[in-house]
Amino acid sequence: MFSDLLNKLNSDTTGSLQHHFGAELWLSVTIVVMLLFRLLSLDRFVPTFIVALVGAAAAGWAAFGQFSEIVAADGVAPLTFFGDMLRHDLFSVFFRIFLALFLILTIALTVLTGIPDNEDAPDFYSLLLGATIGMMIMASANNLLMLFLGVEMASVPSYAMVGFLKGRKPSSEAALKYVVYGAGAAGVMLYGISLVAGVLGTGDMSLMAERLSIVAESGSAGFGDPEVRTVALGVMLVMVGLAFKLSLVPFHFWCPDAFEGASAEVAGFLSVASKAGAFALLVRFCIGLSGVPATAELMTAFGIGLGAIACVTATFGNLAAYTQRNIKRLLAYSTIAHAGYMLMAVAALLVMINSGSAKALTHDINACIGGLLYYLAVYLFMNLGAFAVVALVRNYTFNEDVDSFKGLIGQSPALCITMLVCLFSLIGVPPFGGWVGKFMIFASVYKAAQLHWAMYVVLAVGGLNTVFSVFYYLRIIRAMVLEERPADAPSVKLPSMEGYYVCVLAGMVLLLGLAPGLVNGLTAIASKAGDSVMAVIGR
């Protein structure tokens, strides 16, 4: 047994680490290196952000290596590693690249805005990297334990990051609210996990549907069956935790407070990366539960329920954003609304998978997941762009109200144009990246609507919400472009580096909407990633 143990350890570590776990490993190493640098006082010579950037870049490089490996093999069989704990497929690699890219951009932003000073930088970047590792694990989790571990790893450092400006009252208040609600949601989710795992006798997410169909065989395979009822209760409780991470109504209340209290950089990180990880996890969890006839009815109902939540979330987010004066709060409600849009894709996915004719719909299902991924990719640039502008303007005006943006066009055209591009993209106006993503999601919802009428309602609500959202985004635009800058307002003079940075973000948003090659390429990769994550069902 001892040599068996050694062999297994050896094959697990040397075999899996480089090929499947490189990105996470690089980030872990970077955390330790940052600690060592502080211990040995090396951070006087090498600024910490350089270490963090190098680590993030190495993670991105490792993830890209995995990506090219998979693409070269073209349809390499998705596999599990580390004792079935994680799943290695194009889907998880996509999220690794996504998160690594986002990490690089966020670190660059924090360097430009200088939010962690030199003394606190190692702490801040350790938390940032630690949270990112958690999100990567969320994206590739194949076990309920990894689900919980990933959520915790992503959340707990986030709590600390929200309270990072520890001398400020709003910051500590936001952190307290976030941690209290977050811990509660995690606890409820864990209870749900215990029920699911207990009934199904395994923590393996890819086996859930199969197990459920075996358990339910004796009964009527619907809600009449106590086993199915127990699992449904557990899934509901798990959804509470995930809904909290996704800031879905009615578990959204932390989001505006946390975003307003946190610095804009952290808020940007939470609004993009945390959502991305949670969506990846939600997709994996939902797919793990579907795909067998026994659960079809249950999961279709679940999908429609998600659709209803998506409608309520999007509508609530957009309506509540109207009255906001603080721009971070406004963007928080916008984040809630966008989570609603993206959830529509998941709802459509569930309806399509469980409609019974899975084979015929393979293309549509892949396109559905692909649309979600595309939307997330665009969302990275447009939302980060918006938060970057907020952070940069804050550094000059010391104010985060919408009013502080008045007449920005005369002060710094680069910032103003970036903000315009990002906001128009967030609305979903045609030439920008947001439009493509939104179109893909709505197309999937339309496809799903042909299978179940309820999705027509979702589609209609989604369309209506796009119209709602125009107004509050326009308020910012009006303030920036049309209104006069008050005489006593501090001036915003942007140094060149910051200008380049925001221009890159705006440029990416534009390219993702305009460059056909890029759009097609990314779409193809995204739906291939959808294909790879669906492979669980194709057993």
Partner: protein, 192 residues
């Protein structure tokens, strides 16, 4: 067995109820200790010696001591009291009871024996007695340790837990850094 179980179960439940209804923070902490300690007793009865000891060592001896420190450090008066309006407590209690009833009604309907047999067949094990036999009950140390290293002699088809074991240490490191940052006072100047 059943007497011990009843004692521990009652202590755990009553402790939990007392946590909810007591108004003083320190007493809440005390009842929490009672509840979690009795839970550890339940774990011993459920043949999970190692988990029970971990519960005592980490939860009761570590986390709760931390919480009590928090109570003391944030107390404004000699004994921190918290007022909860009775109406709110009653409403919350009723909803809680409703939920409890729902969970219990759902769970008690499940045919656990049948489920277990089916699942064991699915796991690739023939007899249910193979996993927990009476002689080795409570001696979960070796299989647990091996499971955390990724080897599962007790059930070959089950997953190994090497990755969570290792990655949790990274998590603990990060969390430690974060907690230390939040708790320490900001140093003035650059210290040179």
């Amino acid at each position: 067995m059943s007497i011990l179980f009843t004692i521990f179960a009652l202590a755990a439940c009553l402790g939990a109820v007392a946590v909810v209804i007591s108004q003083s923070m320190a007493r809440m902490a005390f009842w929490l200790v009672v509840s979690l300690g009795s839970t550890a007793g339940l774990f011993f009865l459920a043949d999970a010696d190692f988990v029970a000891a971990a519960q005592l060592l980490i939860y009761v001896g570590g986390t709760l001591v931390l919480l009590v420190f928090g109570v003391m450090l944030t107390a404004s008066g000699p004994y921190l009291k918290i007022q909860t309006s009775p109406a709110e407590t009653v409403v919350a209690g009723l909803i809680g009871l409703l939920f409890l009833f729902m969970v219990f009604a759902t769970v008690s309907g499940v045919d656990w024996e049948g489920t277990k047999t089916k699942m064991l067949a699915e796991n690739g094990q023939s007899t249910p007695t193979e996993k927990f036999d009476d002689q080795s009950e409570g001696d979960t140390l070796r299989p647990l340790g091996l499971a955390l290293l990724g080897v599962r002699p007790d059930s070959p088809n089950s997953p190994g837990y090497l990755l969570p074991f290792e990655i949790a240490s990274v998590h603990l490191l990060v969390v430690l850094i974060g907690a230390a940052y939040l708790a320490r006072a900001k140093r003035r100047g650059d210290g040179s």
